[in-house]
Amino acid sequence: MTEKILLPLDLTQAEAWKKVIDESIGMAQRREAELHVLWVVPALERNLRRLPEDKKPELEAFLKKRFPADIVVKGHVRGSMEAPHRAIRSVAEEIGADLIVMGARNPRLKEHLMGSTASQVTLYAKCSVYVVR
């Protein structure tokens, strides 16, 4: 069975995740794995007519531009009302991910108190987690 790698990404800050994107591409190539890119967006926006699915074309365009054609890349957009780590974990379980590759921001006060998204995923995910800094 082909291995599946999940890459949670915030497209609004794609430049900040250059290293983790490159690393996930390298991993997918070496392991001949499928790469699933997940964008967790707010389920509700100020403009209520805009739905999470509307962001799919933007994600697809980004995937086409940023990822090489020699690996299988699939995009997922997930609207979430909760903390992103829950959405990341539930998508990981849905697709049966073997590995989650993700970036982590430098902790600020909030992260010291609550833990970062990466640490929440690390603690509770059922598959391997690779946090790239």
Partner: protein
């Protein structure tokens, strides 16, 4: 991207860590990095070693075995602890800093006495440390 990869190991349960060891070797090969196997022991005799010197020998032998098997550069780093259940987290962090690790590859659950390792240490690394971390499950 990486030069020094730290791999915490439990010599007592080494046969239960094949996936983490394989992942570490894979990354070391790819980046041409050195694998530092970090093992912890107590001053008092344990099932694996009579004393720290004995443990150091065994850890070095293990590191050499991995190097010979996979053709990667390896090193051994021993931690001597009075009480593994209390001190290990901090001592591991200090060891990572001392060897200058830029990536840590570890099993999420090193079975046995050190069950607590993951809950506290991996969480801590993912949360606060400036280095990358690969938790293998």
């Amino acid at each position: 991207m990486y030069q020094t990869i730290a791999v915490p190991v439990d010599l007592e349960h080494i046969d239960r860590l094949p996936k983490a060891l394989r992942t570490a070797v894979d990354l070391a090969e790819h980046y041409g990095a050195t694998l530092h196997y970090v093992g912890a022991t107590t001053e008092t005799p344990s099932p694996i070693a009579h004393n720290p010197a004995d443990y150091q020998q065994k850890l070095e032998a293990f590191a050499k075995e991995q190097a010979d098997q996979h053709g990667v550069a390896t090193a051994a780093k021993m931690i001597v602890s009075v009480d593994l259940t209390i001190d290990l987290d901090k001592q591991l962090r200090d060891a990572f800093e001392e060897i200058g690790a830029d990536l840590v590859v570890m099993a999420s659950h090193i079975p046995g006495v050190k069950d607590h390792l993951f809950s506290s240490n991996a969480g801590w690394i993912a949360n606060y440390s400036p280095i990358s971390v690969f938790i293998v499950r």
